[in-house]
Each structure stands twice: as C-alpha cells, then as structure tokens.
Amino acid sequence: MQNFIYEMQRTFRSKLVIVMMIIIILASSLVAYGITGPGSPKPVIKPSMTHAAQAVIFNIMNAVFLFLIPVLAIFEGYIIYGKDRTNGVLESVVTRPTTKGQILFSRFFACAASIFIGLLLSTLIIDAGVASYYATGLPLSMMLALIAAYLVAGAAFIGLVFLLSHLVKSQTSVLGLAITIFLVMVIFWDTITFLILILALKLSPGTIGFGKAEVILSFINPAYFGSNVVLYATDVSLFGGFFGTGINPAAYGVTLTSLVAVGIAWMALPILSAYAMAKKFD
C-alpha cells in the first residue's frame, strides 16, 4: 500500500500531469473570460440567472471539455503508462518491491486525479466568471454533474490507452491506435453514427427509431457521456446536435440510475480489462 501511494504521488507530481491540469484550467479560464469579458460588458445591475442562460453556459463548457478531456486523457495515458509499458522501461520498475497491479492502478488513479482536479478548478473558475456577470453563479448540482461526467470520460480514455498498451507491442502502435480512437470517437463519431444509421440500419432521420439508435450509439462512446449528462440536466441543445446527439436521453427512457451505471462502467471496465490482460498474457 505504501508503495502504491508512493508511485501515485510520484506520477501525480510529474511535469506532464501538472501541465495537463494547467491546460484544462487555462482553456476554461478562456471560456469564463468569454462569458464575462469584453464580449459581454459587465452590467450595472446583474441579471438573474435563467434556465436558458444556464443551458448556454453548460453547453459551451461541454463543447470545450468534449474535445479537451479525451485529448489530454489519451496523452496522459500514453506518456504515463503506454510508452513505458511498450518500450520495456516499466520492467525496471516491476522488479522492485511492488506489483504490476499496483503500478497500473497507481498511475491510472494519478492520471484520473489530475483530470478531476483540472475539471474541478476550471468549473470553479467558470462559476466565478459567471457570478461576476449574473446575480448568481451556476447551480451546484449541475456543476458536479458536469465534473463527474467528464471524469468518466477522462478515466475511460486513460483506461483505454492503458488497455491498448497491453494489446499491442510497440510504442507507435499504441500511439497510432490512440489517435485513431480519438478521431473515431471524438471527431468523426457524429458522421460515423449518422452513416451507420442511414446506410446500415436504413433508418430515416426524424423517426423514433432513429432517435433511439442515436442515443444508444452516443452511450457506447465515453466522449459523449458529458453531452448526454448536460442534455439530461438542461434539456437544451445549443449546437443543433453537433456536439452530441442533441437529443435528451431522458426522452428515450434513460434515467439517472442508468446514467450513473453507464458512468461507473466506463470508468472501471477499460482499466480492469487492462489489468486482466496483464495477468493473462504476461
């Protein structure tokens, strides 16, 4: 246990992890600046926070995190674990008084913690920006939901890269596959799912079946977990379904319990599979 904490602290203090946290915080500070900065001059009497305003702000935050969190998570997973695992450097650590499981999980938790702290601080910064413009800040429950949702996405992508590191042998394959995952799951997911629905499943846009299938496909992608949570919480889609389905999953029977269950599964399954692979094939 002591060595678990030792390894976790050491990872958490590494330059890369700290830089990642700073990037998340900087990006969100820009958003906060956008809300409260020159674009929106500070009113003398602060307007009260409306549901519509909340939805706008959460959608903007969602759009930032949707790209940022997977990129940073993938990068961290690669530098902190994937690289060392595939180039063999990890072996000189494994032979010390620790276990493969300890190294795997301590590094995973350190990466996830950095994403969590980055999310927490950025949300607080945005909230402070909002509070300087509006009469009130953002609702706490929604801030927590957004943080939790993107912690899920972050942990899932970190875990996926850890898992990849146990599936392929070379550094370049891990990196190549990680980039492919990013392109497929973040950049082209909307296009890919649209094509699958239209061409393979022969569903037409606007029908109930299409909506249902879109929601299902958005749930098998951890990058869109945050979008689903935001839609579920605000029931407003700003970007015409560009960042996510634009469909409130609640309309298709998704409940809070199922959201939480999917979230836990996305956090746990990739990293547990990575551990199982190490146990089985090393």
Partner: protein, 256 residues
C-alpha cells in the same frame, strides 16, 4: 514497510525454482519446460545454454516480469507471484538488455527505485553515489541515460540492482557487452557477493566465463534443464585437458 536491510530468513534456500513451465503461446513447445533448480546462500550458479534455450525467460519469471504458466518460484521463501512485494524486496536483477527511462539521469532513477525500499531521497543518494562510483560511472552522473553507451547502461543496471543490498541476484548475460575492466569488476563483484552469502544466478552462453567463477553450472537446452554440473564434475571435465564446451555439446547432442 519494507526496510532494505531485512535479514530474517537467512537459513532458507535463497532462490528455489520448482517445476517452472512457461509457454508464450498455446501452441509449440514451452520456452521453459519443467525446470527445477535451487540456488543456495553464498552460491554462484552458472546458467548456460544456446540462444533461445530459455535462460532469459527463466530469469524474467523469477523477477516477476512475466508470470509462470505453472510451477512455483520462491525467493527467501516468498512466492514471486502471490507474495511479489516481499519476494522482490530481496532480488537484484541485471537485464540482458538494459532499458531505462532515456530522459532520466542516473541519480533520479536511483532515488525513484530507492523509494520502493523505504529509502528516503538522502539515503538513496548516498547509497547511489557509492554504487555509481563502484561501477565506474561517477564521472557520468550528469548525463541522461539516453546518452549512455550500451556498456555504461549495463554498469548502471548493476548499480541499480545493488541499491538495497539484496540477498539474491539474477545476472542475465552480465559480462556480455562490458569492457575488460568491466568484466574484471563483475567477476570480483560476484565473488564478493558470494562471500557475503548472496545467492547468484549468472546466465551466459560462454562457458569459459562460468568455469572458473561458478560453484555449479546448470545447462538448459530447449527449455529443459539437462544437467547440473557441480564443482567436482566441472574440475573432472577440465582435468585431462578437456573442455567444458565439448562436454556441453556432448550432452545437448550437438556435433560442432
């Protein structure tokens, strides 16, 4: 807490490999096939075999890098799989191909490794400096490991293996790649470790390297342990001008 000077189970056989089998894949012969070997306190066992015989596989299983398909490996009585942390606290390993974080400097890594033995930064630094001096690297502490030569990396892995003064050592082709001074150093080191009661498994495919150094020589061929020569047998083979190498070829049934 693993303190680096744990000395409780001195009386047990230090390295005990029982019926080790390692298969890398379902089909084909096992890389190591039912290997049983004990290395006692204060004993140097040479581990000889052709390329691909299974030496590195055995050593990697003993250090916990790979898992045995079946069989047990005990280090000072601790099982390498189920009691990995305890087992590893008394093992020093020098890999066949040293591979360290290329962007790190030697002392950074030694401090990092030291933390796993409960050594604080200062303890690791002092101990590390002594070891870097002993391995002839004290002039290269400001270089990153990426700028080390192959032999320097080997010297560094020797230093890293001795960090906590473990009771058991696995040296995989350690003489290979070292300059004459390095070879002499390792020979002296191994003898000195032996005199301090350490158990040492030293793999090599060059039998000349082993014949004067080893107390016993274990010969592995196609994953199977084919013979363990004790000192009397080694001396007997060499007595009448015979060569260990010829004996080796005769038992593995190879005519060269």
């Amino acid at each position: 807490m693993i303190k680096y000077a744990q000395r409780s189970t001195f009386a047990l056989p230090m390295i005990e490999i029982r019926n080790l089998i390692k298969r890398y894949s379902g089909k084909g012969p096992a890389a190591v096939d039912d290997l049983t070997l004990t290395i006692n306190n204060g004993e140097i066992v040479g581990f000889a075999g052709l390329n691909g015989a299974g030496k590195t596989t055995t050593i990697r299983a003993c250090t916990g890098i790979i898992y045995p398909t079946s069989g047990t490996i005990l280090i000072d009585g601790a099982d390498v799989v189920s009691q990995k942390t305890a087992a590893s606290s008394s093992v020093g390993w020098v890999p066949e191909l040293p591979n360290f974080e290329p962007n790190a400097k030697p002392m950074q890594l030694l401090k990092y490794y030291g933390g796993f033995y409960g050594m604080n930064s200062e303890e690791s630094r002092t101990r590390g400096m002594t070891l870097l001096e002993a391995t002839g690297l004290s002039g290269d502490t400001n270089k990153k490991l990426r700028n080390y030569s192959q032999g320097m990396k080997k010297r560094f892995s020797l230093a890293a293996s001795m960090l906590n003064d473990p009771r058991n050592y696995f040296f995989d082709e350690t003489l290979n790649g070292l300059d004459p001074e390095g070879i002499r150093y390792v020979r002296k080191l191994v003898t000195e470790l032996k005199s301090r009661g350490r158990a040492i498994l030293l793999s090599s495919h060059i039998l000349n390297e082993l014949e004067t150094l080893a107390d016993r020589i274990a010969i592995i061929h196609r994953g199977k342990l084919v013979e363990v020569l004790n000192r009397e047998k080694i001396d007997a083979v060499m007595q009448n001008g015979g060569r260990l190498e010829d004996h080796f070829f005769s038992i593995i049934g190879l005519n060269v």
